[in-house]
């Protein structure tokens, strides 16, 4: 009898809570994903309030699953990540749009179990686009091999392998610890070194701690995408009038943009009005 290797399930996860704008965004993300990858399995995590509202059901069409979140904080995304129904999962924020067929190959970046997680690296050259980035001199992009003094991992997208049982714990801890961190109930000694800014407001700081300081997750293998910002091109990086992008400016130490410059994921993080003050979005 021949043994057949069980293929992992693959799918996408997004989360929309608090405001209908996020639901509209998640619907658009799903549609754009299906434009480029018609067979994609996509799960939406949203709050029960929206699930119970018949007017919202039009946004749920073509999702593989629509699942409720336990609460409606603006960081239910980590709960959604922890509860992905897929082995190999690519999480994306709801204010993202897919622009390239390479989305169908995203799971290849896990290299068939070689890595547990893959992230986008927030580069030194891109730092001015982020609200807060560094608190000390040790920078990953300067070749620093220890714990960097900055938020190196972007939380807007995350590719991970749930077949490693630690992954669910990791994402669950990210969720619970961040909520405690934001409320001032969790303040590990490693945070004492951060003497500037208001970094405790960011879930990326919790991610930084889990990756670099948590003994439990030392065994998790992670990397950055080789074609880094193709997987999370922030609109604040700007677009040139000839249609080209600025990966060469915000990511000069990688060379993917010489041969493969088109972003797969465009993140409308700058101008999308998440709080409804500017009108529609």
């Amino acid at each position: 009898m021949s043994k057949t290797k069980v293929q992992p399930t693959k799918g996408f996860v997004t989360v929309a809570t608090k405001r209908k704008q996020f639901l509209i965004g998640a619907d658009n993300l799903k549609e754009s994903l299906l434009d480029h990858y018609p067979d994609a399995k996509i799960t939406l995590f949203t709050e029960q309030y929206f699930i119970d509202d018949p007017e919202c059901h039009v946004y749920f069409r073509d999702f593989d699953q629509v699942l409720p979140t336990p609460s409606n904080t603006n960081r239910e995304k980590m709960w959604g990540m922890a509860n992905s129904p897929y082995d190999l999962t690519f999480y994306m924020d709801a204010d993202i749009e897919i622009r390239h067929d390479d989305i169908a190959n995203v799971f290849d970046h896990l290299e068939d179990g070689k890595y547990d997680m893959v992230y986008v690296n927030l580069t030194k050259e891109g730092a001015r686009h982020f609200a807060e980035w560094e608190w000390g001199p040790n920078l990953y992009d300067n070749g620093w091999r220890g714990v960097p003094d900055h938020l190196a991992h972007c939380g807007g997208v995350a590719l991970y392998d749930m077949r490693n049982p630690l992954m669910k714990d990791f994402m669950t801890d990210w969720y619970t610890l961040f909520l405690k961190q934001r409320n001032g109930e969790w303040n590990p000694p490693e945070f004492d070194y951060i003497r500037k800014g208001n970094f405790r407001q960011w879930d990326q700081l919790t991610l930084w701690w889990l990756i670099y300081h948590s003994p439990k997750y030392k065994s998790l293998k992670w990397k950055f995408f080789e074609d880094n910002y193709r997987w999370n091109y922030f609109t604040s990086f700007q677009f040139n009038t000839d249609g080209s992008h600025n990966c060469h400016i915000v990511d000069p130490n990688r060379d993917y943009w010489k041969t493969n410059p088109t972003p797969v994921v465009v993140h409308f993080s700058s101008w999308m009005d998440k709080y409804g003050d500017k009108g529609f979005l």
């Binding site: 509209i24 965004g25 619907d27 658009n28 549609e31 754009s32 299906l34 434009d35 039009v58 069409r61 749009e97 609109t235 604040s236 990086f237 700007q238 677009f239 040139n240 009038t241 600025n246 409308f268 700058s270 101008w271 999308m272 529609f280 979005l281």
Partner: protein, 152 residues
């Protein structure tokens, strides 16, 4: 008192007016620096002593070089500023287009439509005109279908 005239450049094509950094070391040892305007001629048409001092410390060739380098630096800066503004405008245009698209998808008939092909064309539209054109085609199709079903 010691006067040093540094980095002079011509202000005009006639080369009779200079801008120059003036560093002064005073007799009491204190130091001051300022940007000075130096004219070649005084009101009676005589060459000024300041101008002569500048020329004693800086050759004509050096002044011409400073002037050209400064002009080139400013030209590059202007070009970079214009390019940056164009990029900013383009990013803003695409952000606005994204918002318009999501508004278009909120039109009830379009929201309910399952015409994936046309909805993808709306999503991938490069500008507002193209987007509106595809939205109109989709709405026309929906209205035609509604009319046909009413006629039936």
């Amino acid at each position: 008192m010691k006067k040093e005239w540094k980095n002079p450049f011509w202000e005009n094509a006639a080369k009779d007016r200079l801008t120059v950094r003036l560093n002064v070391t005073h007799d009491d040892g204190s130091f001051s620096t300022t940007v000075a305007k130096v004219s070649k001629f005084d009101k009676d048409g005589n060459i000024t002593s300041d101008y002569n001092e500048v020329l004693e410390q800086n050759s004509m060739e050096e002044i011409d070089t400073f002037t050209e380098e400064r002009l080139e630096r400013h030209r590059q800066q202007r070009e970079a500023d214009i390019k940056k503004q164009q990029e900013r405008n383009e990013a803003k245009r695409l952000e606005d287009l994204f918002n318009y698209k999501l508004q278009t998808f909120e039109i009830p008939e379009i929201k309910e439509s399952t015409n994936r092909k046309l909805k993808a064309k709306i999503r991938k539209a490069k500008n507002a005109v193209e987007m509106q054109a595809y939205a109109t085609i989709l709405l026309m199709e929906i209205l035609n279908e509604q009319n046909e079903s009413t006629t039936d």
